[in-house]
């Protein structure tokens, strides 16, 4: 029979296990990706270095030819409470190019797919019919949008036209604070790999089980579980 002490121990163990699944830090997600051994392009965003200049937003628009009100990436100004104090911070948001993306399986034409060679989630605009099913399936609000120039769904693909040639994405290239770090997380010698092993990165909404490939340094557990959206209200505007 279970005595009270053992029962409490069981309960505590169960609670810890449940919490660790619900609020999974990025570490286990990274380990899962590394086990596969393939090239996996990812981005780390160091929030302590983001000054909210939005150079990334502008350069992304210029590189990918999107209209001024259509953004593949955006920096939202939001706040967090730590203890009894409120802090404001900049939060760059974009497609997480997830390891287990919920947008890929729902696509009825196969237009959205994950590239085997580098893990980038791509929308083929020649196959996309614009049903918006992927937009609904993505738990990260606003990272996908309808491109008014093509009439199809558009999103961040880590500037595939640049990264396929060994260049950095436009937002990483122009980041004035050096907040965005990009590279292959399976290459142990890469800057991103070293940074991920040194710091304690978080991913947005880990409970959605999509294993994002965009990691954040400086984000608390509570903030990482918040459902931020590109359309979240801005606290201030440049």
């Amino acid at each position: 029979m279970l005595d009270r002490r053992r029962a409490l121990r069981f309960l505590a163990g169960g609670a810890i296990a449940t919490t660790s699944v619900m609020f999974m830090p990025a570490g286990s997600a990274i380990a899962a990706v590394r086990q596969q051994g393939k090239k996996r392009l990812a981005m780390v965003i160091d929030l302590s270095r983001c000054n909210g200049c939005k150079a990334c937003v502008v350069s992304c628009g210029m590189e990918n030819g999107t209209k001024p009100d259509e953004h593949r990436t955006q920096v939202i100004q939001t706040s967090a409470e730590i203890g009894d104090k409120q802090f404001a911070f900049n939060l760059p948001i974009m497609c997480n190019n997830c390891e287990d993306p919920s947008c890929v399986s729902v696509c009825p034409t196969g237009a959205t797919f994950k590239r085997e060679e580098d893990g980038i989630v791509v929308v083929d605009s020649t196959l996309c019919i614009g049903c918006n099913y992927c937009i609904q399936a993505c738990p990260y609000g606003g990272v996908r949008f309808t491109n008014s120039t093509t009439g199809t769904v558009d999103k961040c693909n880590f500037c595939i036209q640049r990264t396929s040639r060994g260049l950095l994405p436009a937002c990483v290239e122009t980041c004035t604070g050096g907040a965005r770090i990009f590279g292959d997380i399976n290459d142990v010698n890469s800057e991103i790999s070293k940074l991920l092993s040194q710091s304690n990165p978080m991913v947005l909404q880990a409970s959605k089980q999509t294993s994002p490939n965009v990691f954040y340094i400086g984000l608390t557990q509570e903030e990482s579980n918040t459902a931020f959206s590109i359309h979240s209200p801005q606290l201030w505007q440049r």
Partner: protein
């Protein structure tokens, strides 16, 4: 700011597909239960099958109109984008509920058309339609469920992933089908002498009231648990359409109309029958539209 990617056209798609499936279900049941040996039932079954097929076709048209490539094709006179929807029929993606639905609807339209033709080919032998009636009944249940599963497949969505939505949409599709059949019966001047229709419709609507109450309460609980305002609160657009359109107009008022005719033991006038059918159909549309809006909260 909340972005609504699925609006009126998708709601119309869900509604028309549901109503069409409901009409085909009742038509199929009339054939399978041999009631078609009575001439006015045969006419009802025949016209219900035709109307149900047309509604399915119209519903499918609505989802095509909603495609952004289709709208882009019209706005920019781009023929390639206009006809891009053909891609839906070039692939079978078992993981995508929309792809499954595309093929399900295509097959349902083919078989419902054959069902309609079977009435014409052997008008004097209704038994000839039985195999098609059985297939159509199965397809009708699949389509009515699919309209809920299409949105329910998005499992992180607090509103759409609610399992009871399948039951609600199924019941709603049946009551819509009954409303379509009622309009047809009224046009054919068939009188519901034993209040059979009123009684069965009341039972269906009462069951629907029960399920929507469970749904509304679960959405309230889920919203509170996730630290949000009630996603079906009366102050929101979705909530207002839900409580006024779906519940009051679509369920309470038709129930009261049915009850008054049963209690007073008088046959309902044709104008009241039309009103009853229109209220049910309006409510069913509002139900789907409000659920769609409530689910797009992020």
């Amino acid at each position: 700011m909340h972005e609504v990617h699925w609006g009126l056209l998708v709601a119309a798609y869900l509604f028309l597909a549901g109503a069409g499936a409901g009409a085909l279900f009742i038509s199929g049941c009339l054939v399978l239960s041999n009631k078609v040996q009575v001439p006015h039932h045969l006419n009802t079954a025949k016209i219900s099958a035709i109307v149900g097929t047309l509604l399915l076709m119209l519903g499918t048209g609505m989802i095509v109109f909603d495609l952004t490539t289709f709208q882009y094709g019209i706005a920019n006179v781009d023929v390639v984008k206009f006809f891009r929807f053909y891609r839906l029929f070039m692939t079978i993606e078992p993981s995508s509920m929309m792809s499954i639905g595309t093929w399900l609807l295509t097959l349902a339209i083919i078989f419902s058309s054959l069902f309609c033709l079977s009435f014409r080919a052997k008008a004097d032998q209704p038994g000839y339609s039985r195999p098609f009636a059985a297939i159509n009944v199965i397809f009708a249940v699949c389509i009515a469920s699919y309209t809920a599963l299409l949105i329910g497949d998005i499992n992180h969505n607090l509103v759409w992933s609610n399992s009871i939505l399948v039951v609600i949409f199924l019941l709603s599709a049946l009551s819509c089908g009954a409303a379509v059949v009622l309009i047809i019966k009224t046009r054919l001047k068939i009188v519901d002498v034993n209040h059979t229709f009123a009684k069965s419709d009341s039972a269906l609507l009462a069951l629907e009231v029960l399920t929507v109450c469970v749904f509304a309460y679960s959405i309230y609980s889920i919203s509170i648990f996730n630290g949000m305002d009630n996603l079906l609160s009366f102050s929101s657009t979705a909530g207002a359409i839900w409580w006024i359109g779906a519940i009051l107009i679509g369920l309470i008022m038709p129930l009261l109309l049915n009850f008054t005719s049963i209690i007073s033991k008088t046959s309902v006038s044709h104008s009241k029958e039309y009103l009853l059918a229109v209220l049910i159909l309006m409510g069913a549309f509002c139900l789907r539209y409000s659920v769609l809006l409530a689910g797009q909260y992020y």
